[in-house]
Amino acid sequence: MTAVGLGLPGFPPRAPDGVGFLRGTESFPEAAHHELANPQLRRNIAKATHTIREKRLRVTGELPDWQALRDTGSAVKVDTLNRLPELLEQFEAAVVARGGVVHWAADAIEADAIVTELVEATGSREVIKVKSMATQEIGLNEHLESVGIRAYETDLAELIVQLGHDKPSHILVPAIHRNRSEIREIFLNEMDGVDPNLDDDPQHLAAASRKFLRHKFMTVPVAVSGANFGIAETGTLGVVESEGNGRMCLTLPQTLITVMGIEKIIPRFADLEVFLQLLPRSSTGERMNPYTSMWTGVTPGDGPQNFHVVLLDNGRTAALADAIGRQALKCIRCSACLNVCPVYEQTGGHAYGSTYPGPIGAVLTPQLTGMTGKDDPNASLPFASSLCGACFDACPVEIDIPSLLIELRHQKVEHTGFGPEAAAMRAASIAMSSATRFALAQKAAGLGRLVAGKKGTISTLPPPLSGWTDARDIPAPPRQTFRQWWKSAEGRAAIAEARAEASS
């Protein structure tokens, strides 16, 4: 059993509660029920996830060395985590040598304070922002707002979310739950100076955002960004995007503040040759995204002349302290696992209550925040999955999300006992049962990865299989050797039996 960090001495602290967006107000099953009642949302999400999924398969299939790239990507990230202190120090030295300033933020509260102080030092009451999950995680916009600084999201989807007083629902396409007529409404109601005759043609909606933000790009003197990677060897940072709003924010203002999770480091510049192949193809299903910006400190006469990077912990060291859980820190936020997840497809991103939705959110969020008791909404997240394994197969850095979910379920049960997870499992299965495409066989594929208590047997299965386990316990597969168990005669027999009984 690895340490779980529920108040254990010496365990790194989790992300503080009450700041940022890592915890919803209700458990996954409760939230999922509202979301499931919204057919429009489900149609939008189904369309989006299926489209991206097909594109991804097409462009990953083009590369004969795709699997080799995944193996390298995974190993590079493991190596990074193994050597994180030295790589962070190397990164810091390289940034400083090129005229940048490095700040360290132990948690969201500190990160918000650092950024606020840096913005205030510029005298500006406005900032422009590039889509960044880290700043969403720490609730930066809301914090800035509280001290009278207005943050403008410049990514089209983020702008739609911001103007709609809404929350992102997908890592890559945060406004995917909105359709064009809703977006038109939002623009008409919330966008200063918008043409009242705006129709709902996506071309025209995008043009409206171009017009709205152009002036901001040209006049606001400070930008805040995230980063897709920070290179230890050279201190180079990279942002991957499509619209050019990133380039605007990274190039035109005098001051640039980049907030980056400590796990975003990669060791060498040459490692980009792996991640610049893995990320766009997994993310948007493109061979390459339209724009990628890379910069190193300050370049005289080109781009921001004041550059700050804020390195963020906020629960990441707690995830790192768990030998199994730390895998989640390999994530490059491509969102492929969301697009293949049958549960996400039914519930959308809001049900997860966190900046990080979908399969990766279900394993990353509870690790960043901890699971503080049986009523903690985040304690229900490891159950928000059918354990079908599609996320693992899609992940460009080979994060074994199903095993992580099992591990977190163990931890949850060990520390808070059985209880809400039964309901949580039911929610996942309700989501599943409306996914008619998914055959029972696929559900059964997840059977071994279900709740097992200390006695090492599986005693709770989601309906319609719960009746089966009421009557008898089945042996739980050893936590880290699910694949072996699955292939064994015993595993096959158990699954076959469950399948037969469930369909009878």
């Binding site: 040459a270 339209p290 060291t317 768990d322």
Partner: protein, 215 residues
């Protein structure tokens, strides 16, 4: 204690309490690929056009005429260039040529109809042009603010794949990777071209010798 010390301490402790499994990074993916000029360029053209860039080909001698034609067809009258662009390139262009300088405020670049630059290296397999702020490319704002970017790519700067292209970069230079014009899929996943970056990307491929296929 500074947060730097705190965070580094937490990481070190985490790695002591849950010791990492050492890993050897496998490198089995393709590197050092080469393809004959014709195949490499065909691949590049296919990828550029797939992302809605307009592609033109000519040899060095015909570059000024080609650029003049492309700019005129794009309706450009006022054209920005970086300080290090070969002056002869725009010799045939009849409109106004503005040489960029760091004293020109970025918003003024909006008055340019188009910008003409060179490029550092290009990846055929992904249709990606790498700009590294070299003298023939200029500062990043120059290729960002104007609505039309005409980018000259020489055949010998085209590499097959991402690893080969990246190997030719100087990491510390501010670098922009461009794959087609600005685009978004944020509304119902429908691709819309041209949001904040240039809405039109014209790529002029330049051979040393006359082109094998007519453009």
């Amino acid at each position: 204690m500074s947060s730097r010390t705190v965070i580094l301490g937490r990481i070190r402790e985490a790695l002591v309490d849950a010791p990492p499994t050492p890993v050897t990074v496998p490198r089995e993916y393709r590197v050092d690929r080469t393809l004959p000029d014709a195949e490499r360029i065909d691949l590049l053209i296919d990828r550029l056009e797939d992302y809605d860039a307009r592609v033109y080909r000519c040899d060095t001698a015909h570059l000024p005429a080609m650029l003049a034609r492309v700019l005129t067809d794009a309706g450009a009258r006022r054209v920005g260039v970086p300080t290090g662009l070969d002056e002869s390139w725009l010799a045939d262009f009849g409109g106004e040529v503005v040489v960029d300088g760091t004293d020109i405020p970025a918003p003024d670049l909006e008055d340019l109809d188009a910008v003409v630059t060179g490029s550092a290296v290009t990846c055929a397999e992904t249709g990606t042009i790498f700009l590294d702020a070299g003298p023939d490319q200029g500062r990043r704002a120059l290729t960002l603010v104007p609505d039309v970017h005409v980018c000259v790519v020489t055949v010998d700067s085209v590499e097959v794949g991402v690893p080969e292209a990246l190997a030719r970069l100087v990491p510390e230079r501010p670098t922009t990777l461009v794959s087609g014009p600005s685009a978004t899929v944020d509304i119902e996943l429908e691709r819309v071209q041209g949001v904040h970056g240039p809405r039109h990307l014209h790529v002029v491929l330049v051979d040393q010798a006359p082109p094998r296929t007519p453009s």
